[in-house]
């Protein structure tokens, strides 16, 4: 019984929300295959405090590897430990999050193991004892159903797609030997610069309040920040390329082909026309709301709900009503 490997992402000793999603996805696959979930949690000293949490989300065993050298993520160090773990314990499927860390790490692990890899998986099924993954291509214009050759099947799942569920069972915790030497690494993280105020990132937020050129001036984004705040820690502000190029918002907030691909449960497109390159980044959102004064704006074609009108009148009212509700 080889099991399903789940990479539990942490940063600064804190477990990322997506770690719960990865373990949940692994649990579903493991149940369909009749096997176990083995989660691996790597980080600096103290990170292991979160092991029980992973058990509650479906890990049968949580392997904790703490090392001073792992206080920051290291592609080379993590690859060595994880590929070593998989070679030793064996695994049928290895699941990573499609985050900046996961998309850096998972392909390296796959290459080290000499097996195929796909990213941004949005659905997983088990067919005849093997895993089959579905993933968007061409910015979501097409979906590909992919099967894997030699084991393990290595893949990353898109954040916010596999809703984390809890099961009562607490998994067993084991210690993983991580005797890596930082001096061997060819790449070292020197500094992490958090965006102002530790705000939720567009790539991870369950709700995104995105603004475009329709906002007219950078100062008006304050209105969107207030709307985002009204969702009480659940929403992030996003932006179209037009406003990023104009220097109104940082590129880290850009959604679209040359920005981030997002899949929140709720996406507000406010004063955004809905150019194909913008849709490329947000069309797989669960629900889309468009606010635009132009009833012919292409965004209305993919929005679930739309309000036609002047955003300067609509957004303050929306913020007021959301505040009442939350």
């Amino acid at each position: 019984m080889a099991g399903i490997f789940a990479f539990a992402e942490s940063r600064d000793g804190e477990l990322r929300k997506v770690a719960h999603e990865v373990v949940t996805a692994a649990r579903t696959v493991a149940d369909a295959m009749g096997t176990e979930v083995h989660a691996v949690l790597l980080g600096g000293p103290g990170t292991g405090a979160h092991a029980a949490e992973l058990g509650q989300h479906g890990a049968d065993k949580v392997f904790v590897g703490e090392s001073g050298a792992f206080a920051h993520y290291s592609a080379e160090g993590f690859t060595t430990v994880i590929a070593g773990f998989i070679k030793e314990h064996g695994c049928d499927v290895a699941i990573f999050p499609a985050t900046s860390m996961g998309k850096d790490l998972a392909p390296r692990v796959a290459a080290r193991l000499g097996v195929g890899y796909v990213s941004e998986v949005t659905s997983l099924e088990v067919e005849g004892g093997s895993v089959v993954a579905t993933r968007p291509e061409y910015s979501g214009k097409v979906f590909a159903r992919v099967s894997f050759g030699e084991k393990p099947a290595v893949l990353s799942v898109r954040p916010n797609v596999f809703t984390a569920t809890e099961n009562a069972k607490a998994g067993a915790v084991e210690t993983l030997d991580v005797s890596v030497n930082e001096a061997d690494f060819g790449a070292i993280v020197r500094e992490i610069k958090a965006a102002a105020g530790e705000k939720l990132d567009v790539g991870e937020a369950p709700i995104i309040v995105s603004g475009g050129r329709g906002l007219k001036e950078p100062e008006n984004f304050k209105m969107l920040e207030e709307l985002a705040d009204a969702f009480k820690g659940k929403a992030a502000v996003g932006a179209s390329r037009a406003v990023v190029d104009a220097g109104w918002r940082p590129h880290s907030e850009q959604v679209g082909q040359t920005g981030k691909t997002v899949a929140p449960t709720l996406y507000f497109a406010i004063g955004i026309s809905g150019a194909i390159q913008h849709l490329a980044g947000m069309r797989t959102s669960r629900f889309i709301v468009a606010i635009n004064k132009d009833p012919e704006a292409p965004i209305f074609k993919i929005a679930d709900y739309g309000i036609v009108g002047d955003l300067f009148q609509i957004v303050p009212r929306l913020t007021e009503e959301v505040r009442k509700m939350m």
Binding site: H72, A75, E76, T79, S100, K103, D104, L105, P107, R108, A110, A111, V115, G116, V118, S119, E120, R135, Y138, S139, V142, F143, A144, R145, V146, F148, G149, E150, G186, A187, R190, E191, I192, K193, A194, A195, D201, G203, E204, H251, S252, Q254, L266, R283, V289, F300, K301, I302, A303, D304, Y305, G306, I307, V308, Q313, I314, P316, L318, E321, M325
Partner: protein, 249 residues
């Protein structure tokens, strides 16, 4: 400073994507192809750093069919010095492409191995880190800007909620995203010069990819959107729908 920049020929984003009759391939007829937008950042970065150093060369490399020569010419017109086409009779993806590139890179001298963060066709974001792994060199992904000094690269990388600074020993691999390098347009002079620049073609075999696309489908049509109403008075109804119908709040 010697840079090797890997580039890919991809359909323009505006192009409609049609699935072939076999249900697995994507139609190529009538599709407008471009140099992958993320690769343009990588080409631009290589050119900028060569110019700053006042020496070195930029070689662009692509894995693909003979049509990819066109994409390489685009990069040559931007200012790259030489091009290599690793020509495959059949489409290769992911690991297979990474292996072909790694084999070619092994026989070359380079300081920087540059990639776009992802290709906008398969949206895989994997070839860069895979090649780095196969070559056993350090890599950084989603790089917005980097500097080169004293045998080291210092790269700014985009991460969730901020950025990180990674220091890498040369030679290293970087995958570029939008940031400090605004791709230049090829000048007429550049386009003329590109015709005379060396473009070497090598046939490659390519091992299996490790994954197989069984089927491609179009996404489920989003149910026709509903205009809830006009102006601020539509707000309460919108929230009622989000709460009771969509059940997202």
């Amino acid at each position: 400073m010697k840079s090797l920049v890997c580039v890919k020929r991809v359909p323009d984003t505006e192009t409609r994507i049609r699935i072939g009759g076999d249900g697995t391939t994507v139609e190529t007829a009538g599709v407008k192809y471009v140099l992958n937008p993320y690769d343009e950042f990588a080409v631009e970065a290589a050119l900028k750093h060569k110019e700053a150093a006042g020496q070195g060369d930029v070689t662009v490399l692509s894995v693909g069919g003979s049509e990819s020569a066109e994409t390489l010419r685009t990069a040559l017109a931007m200012g790259a010095d030489a091009a290599v086409l690793l020509k495959s009779d059949r489409p290769l993806e992911g690991l297979a492409v990474a292996r072909v590139i790694a084999d070619e890179a092994k026989g070359r001298e380079f300081d920087l191995l540059l990639f776009g963060m992802k290709a906008v066709d398969d949206d895989l974001s994997a070839v860069g880190p895979m090649v780095a792994e196969l070559l056993g060199i350090p890599a950084a992904t989603a790089v917005t800007e980097f500097s080169v000094e004293g045998g080291k690269v210092t790269a700014q990388c985009e991460i969730e909620g901020g950025s990180e600074v990674i220091e890498l020993k040369i030679p290293c691999a970087l995958t570029l995203t939008k940031g400090a390098y605004e791709p230049r347009y090829a000048s007429l002079k550049g386009i003329m010069a590109a015709k005379k620049k060396p473009l070497e073609e090598k046939a490659v075999q390519g091992a299996p990819d490790g994954v197989t696309v069984q089927k491609r489908t179009y996404p489920a049509e989003r149910a026709a959107g509903r205009i809830v109403g006009e102006g601020p008075d539509a707000v309460p109804e919108l929230l009622r729908l989000l709460r009771q119908e969509a059940k997202v709040l």
